[in-house]
Symmetry: C2
Amino acid sequence: MSTSRRTFMAAAATLGTTIAAATTAGAATAVNTYPKLVHHVFFWLKNPASKEDLSKLLAGLRTLTAIETVRGAHFGVPASTEKRDVVDNSYSASEILFFDDLAGQKIYQDHPVHKKFVADCSHLWERVVVYDAVSA
Amino acid sequence: MSTSRRTFMAAAATLGTTIAAATTAGAATAVNTYPKLVHHVFFWLKNPASKEDLSKLLAGLRTLTAIETVRGAHFGVPASTEKRDVVDNSYSASEILFFDDLAGQKIYQDHPVHKKFVADCSHLWERVVVYDAVSA
């Protein structure tokens, strides 16, 4: 295990996640190096060719990290990985937020910062799909 | 910012991710606290009621963390967050892997450990959807 990976896992541990240490050399190591609950939202813009609309949406998304229960964030756009039948790259923007638990996600959902984001940006998108997953 | 959050962000920085420091108190802070490329896969089991099949799939997924370019992992099942029209909780299992870049994801895709996972577990699922997102 590299030093950076070890440091990262140690930090993840401070966030209360579960770390399964390697028991044998070469075995699968960390199972969950991130907080327990992940909230992944995909947005399809009404005007997918508008760089301005994408920029506004991404700026709106970045405000969400101010919510105190957000433990980590990744905001992105479709990656230019290999095109395969199973890959959906039709969306405009991706929002991943990590929470410690359901309570943290609920606080986010009802938070004024989240409501302001929806009020300011919902005219930009035509479709949203949300996946919430808990560590298993 | 709490100590744990600061520690976490410092560790994320060692992984080469971009950290945008807060410029004003209370402003949105870290934009990308995770490696650049996220690979999120959702699996729908042929037998969604089978705990044994889910267990086999999750065990298979955990082997993927042995691939050297995997920078972080979260394996999960649908969370019991509030049911809303936009939430898709129909899947059986969720796999999130983080990579530094496209090259890292490509090494994973072609890696013998990944191929063994597909060979061992693909009979379990009837549908897979993949989303690859790059930080923006």
